[in-house]
């Protein structure tokens, strides 16, 4: 009775999944190759740094978004949250560091609270985070009614540090990918989080405290958001209340590009980091092409489409249906 072969559930599906995992990297490589071809000067320590350093805060924002996607929620507030953190960084941080830290901790606390409320009252995350996005933006405008402020010296210095061997964006990408992978894919907590995204009922039946888990997920997202905001303000040297509003959509795009899905707890941290690099590059890539100004906006849409269409191509040739 032994050895009932069950070959039907392994095989091509695995291969397609692997190609999917490689896709973000391939897309990034293609974009980089195109840039290098147009502008060989970019192929240097200095060039890569210029090309990619604004992806650093995006990578953290993407990890934050991915944390939320892992529990099959969606965070519409990460952009405004990063903006708020940047405002705190540019106003309170230099003069009243203790107060600034308290403010950041409180903000992360509110995030966690939002997670707890979403779980406890079974609310749709989209609405709650939509509400939160107004809360963050309101706080940011109250804190910094008009653009300005100055990031603390240490933060600016840190963000313009010339890292050895490789430019900072590369090191950061490696670091965030490793952290994301260990935290979300490998760790027990990450497994629990993905499980919550896949089948919440199963997690509840196993006796976990769901409120605590979801609050934890949102808190971690908040911490990633804090990292993102501080690094952003370190780069920009000063802030405004709308500085990162776009990060909400950018982070979703990057996470999805990296292989995450909107439901079912399917996420890919390494892919997300590469996705963040790709999205950043795609958005500014156009300066390297000579495109009529009227069509530049649309061109960015086309690049997004092109990159994602690769996925369809893989499915087609990978034999999935």
């Amino acid at each position: 009775m032994t050895g009932i072969a069950l070959t039907n559930h392994r095989g091509p599906a695995r291969r397609v999944a692997m190609l999917h995992a490689l896709l973000p990297a391939v897309a990034l490589a293609l974009l980089l190759a195109a840039v290098f071809l147009k502008q060989p000067r970019a192929m240097s320590y200095f060039g890569i740094n210029l090309l990619l350093n604004l992806a650093i805060p995006v990578m953290f924002a993407t990890l934050a978004q991915m944390m939320i996607l892992a529990v099959s929620d969606l965070d519409l507030s990460i952009g405004p949250f990063v903006s708020l953190v940047a405002c705190i960084g540019a106003t309170l941080m230099p003069e009243q560091p203790v107060l600034a830290v308290l403010a950041l901790v409180a903000a992360v606390g509110v995030y966690a609270l939002a997670g707890a409320v979403i779980q406890a009252r079974q609310l749709p995350s989209i609405v709650v985070t939509l509400g939160l996005s107004f809360v963050w933006l309101g706080c940011a405008v109250l804190l910094l009614p008009t653009p300005g402020g100055t990031a603390p010296e240490w933060l600016r210095a840190a963000m313009s540090w010339r890292t050895p061997l490789l430019p900072m964006p590369i090191w950061m990408a490696i670091a965030t990918a490793i952290v994301g992978h260990l935290l979300i894919t490998r760790s027990a907590f990450g497994t629990l989080v993905r499980g919550l995204g896949g089948n919440p009922g199963a997690i509840a039946r196993a006796g976990w405290n769901m409120v605590r888990v979801r609050a934890g997920v949102y808190a971690i997202a908040g911490v990633f958001g804090v990292c993102s905001g501080l690094m952003l303000v370190g780069q920009a040297t000063s802030a405004d209340a709308n500085i990162a509003s776009r990060y909400t959509l950018v982070a979703i795009a990057a996470a999805i590009l990296g292989g995450a899905e909107f439901a079912g707890g399917k996420v890919a941290p390494v892919g997300a980091v590469i996705g963040a690099l790709t999205v950043t590059l795609a958005a500014s890539f156009l300066t390297f092409l000579n495109i009529a100004p009227d069509w530049q906006v649309g061109m960015q849409g086309l690049i997004l489409v092109a990159v994602l269409a690769l996925r369809a191509a893989i499915d087609l040739f990978g034999g999935k249906r």
Partner: protein, 503 residues
């Protein structure tokens, strides 16, 4: 732990007194007394909606009772303090009727999330090894690996994993195992392996509650039988002191003996399938699909073999062929209607009422006279089917989730049978359906077949093959044999499926 369990055998482990619970207008439990002793296997039986799952949910802390008290190993297990978590800590485990695995995780990861308190490095390896050990012990030859992703497994395999996971010791004690229809998606072999394991489990002084609608299993494995009806316990006797007839009558259903009737029904067409009869379903032979398959008007065709060997895929392919009728190697005339067995993922629309869930299959007819759906007719027809199938519900406008598992399944039958489709595809549709209902549905199928409808019926229960005119046996995704009339027997099916598997 093991020694003490054995020593305590025979003592009371769980005592529930006057447990009651209602859901809105439905009183699911109306004061239930139940005692479970160490070292026994108790069978919990009753018709669909009798309250079995509700009782289980209360025992294991997933639901709070409205009234009544509960004692576990002599300690009160009541109120807010009694939660899933608490129950687990005291050694109570449960395999729920609806699967509790995370599709997106691997087996090892699913093992881990079922162990709330353990935290260590290298947990992945350990959890995987633990689960594999249990799998090997209960289901030797399961063919699973710790890094298989659950979502890629067929439902039978998932249920195996679910059961094995519950039986894996881990850091918490294991005193009482409650299995709510654990064999509903298992093939005969795996079910037998599980039943054998349950015996050795209780022999160690542990306790087991088994809920199943397969009476064969009940008599094979339980020490004591608790019969529930309409939210109450109506009988509790040692298994040895009762028999099939008495059990069924306690459940409130007339004694049935299906086999002779089935055979009689079959003789109508058995052997008489002349080539002159027009086939409505035709699948040509191919290396990929195996030998040819066909079905005529009014025929009931069975798909057999081990679970997950291509039967469901065949049904899906037929469904698709009927929607896109091309000059394919596969031809289906007229429309098809599908009765899902994996109702959670394939059947139920959770946000809809019972009525809507039923009528979604009939929309084409309901708007036959005007572009708009005729609401009155919709309601009337739904009401007719409610009566025809004896749905246990006060109101067809309640959410579908308010129905017990078996009653939900009846809704899916109504959805398909109420449609105009001449071909009905059934994907192991009797999962979790009680004996009484099954008998009614069998009769319904025969009646409809007599009226000219064709049924293609995948089943994991051998008994059901006796209701089929002809049976195709599947192995490794291919059709490997055809049986008709008196040739249809468990031995022949097993022989065919393993001949091919071995090859």
């Amino acid at each position: 732990m093991q020694v003490s369990s054995q020593a305590l055998a025979g003592e009371a482990l769980v005592e529930a007194r006057g447990a009651a619970r209602s859901f809105g207008a439905v009183q699911a439990l109306r004061g239930v007394d139940l005692q479970l002793r160490r070292g026994e296997c108790v069978g919990l039986v009753g018709h669909n909606g009798a309250g079995k799952s509700t009782l289980v949910n209360i025992l294991c802390g997933a639901l709070a009772p409205d009234r009544g008290d509960l004692h576990f190993a002599g300690r009160p297990a009541d109120g807010a303090a009694w939660s899933l978590r608490e129950a687990r800590r005291w050694g109570l485990r449960c395999v729920f009727q609806e699967l509790s695995l995370c599709d997106n995780l691997t087996l090892a990861e699913n093992m881990r999330i079922a162990q709330p308190q353990s935290a260590e490095w290298a947990w992945r390896k350990r959890a995987g090894a633990q689960l594999m050990a249990t799998l090997d012990r209960i289901f030797p030859g399961h063919g699973l690996r710790p890094d298989d992703v659950v979502g890629e497994l067929p439902i039978g395999k998932r249920q195996i994993v679910e059961v094995a996971r519950a039986f894996t010791p881990g850091a918490q004690p294991l005193e009482l195992m409650i299995l709510d229809e654990p064999t509903s998606s298992l093939d005969g072999q795996a079910a037998a392996q599980l039943l054998a394991y349950i015996r050795s489990f209780v022999a160690e002084g542990k306790t087991c509650v088994l809920i199943t609608h397969k009476l064969r299993e009940i008599f094979a494995v339980t020490d004591r039988l608790v019969v529930m009806r309409d939210g109450q316990v109506v009988q509790a006797t040692p298994t040895a002191e009762t028999d099939r007839e008495r059990l069924v009558s306690a459940m409130g259903q007339a004694v049935v003996n299906d086999a002779p009737q089935a055979a009689a029904a079959r003789t109508r067409t058995a052997g008489g399938h002349a080539q002159t009869v027009q086939d409505v379903v035709q699948v040509q032979a191919s290396t990929q699909r195996g030998i040819a398959l066909h079905a005529a008007r009014g025929e009931v065709i069975g798909l057999a073999g081990l679970a997950g060997h291509g039967q469901t895929a065949m049904l899906l392919a037929l469904q698709e062929a009927s929607q896109h009728n091309g000059k394919d190697a596969m031809r289906v005339e007229g429309g098809t209607a599908f009765v899902a067995g994996d109702r959670q993922t394939d059947g139920v629309f959770a946000l809809w009422s019972i009525a809507r869930n039923m009528t979604v299959g009939w929309l084409a007819q309901l708007r036959a006279r005007s572009p708009l759906i005729d609401l009155k007719q919709e309601q009337q027809q739904a009401q007719q089917w409610r009566e025809r199938l004896g749905l246990v519900t006060p109101d067809m406008d309640l959410p579908i989730g308010s129905l017990s598992g078996g009653n939900q399944q009846k809704v899916l039958f109504a959805r398909a049978l109420g449609s105009a489709a001449p071909v009905i595809l059934m994907d192991d549709p009797m999962r979790g359906v009680d004996v009484g209902t099954k008998r009614d549905v069998y009769a319904l199928i025969r009646e409809e077949a007599r009226g000219g409808r064709t049924f293609v019926w995948y089943t994991t229960e051998f008994d059901e093959l006796h209701h089929c005119d002809r049976v195709y046996v599947f192995s490794n995704g291919r059709v490997v044999g055809e049986l008709a009339g008196d040739d249809i027997s468990e031995e022949r099916v097993v022989a065919l499926s393993f001949e091919e598997a071995a090859a």
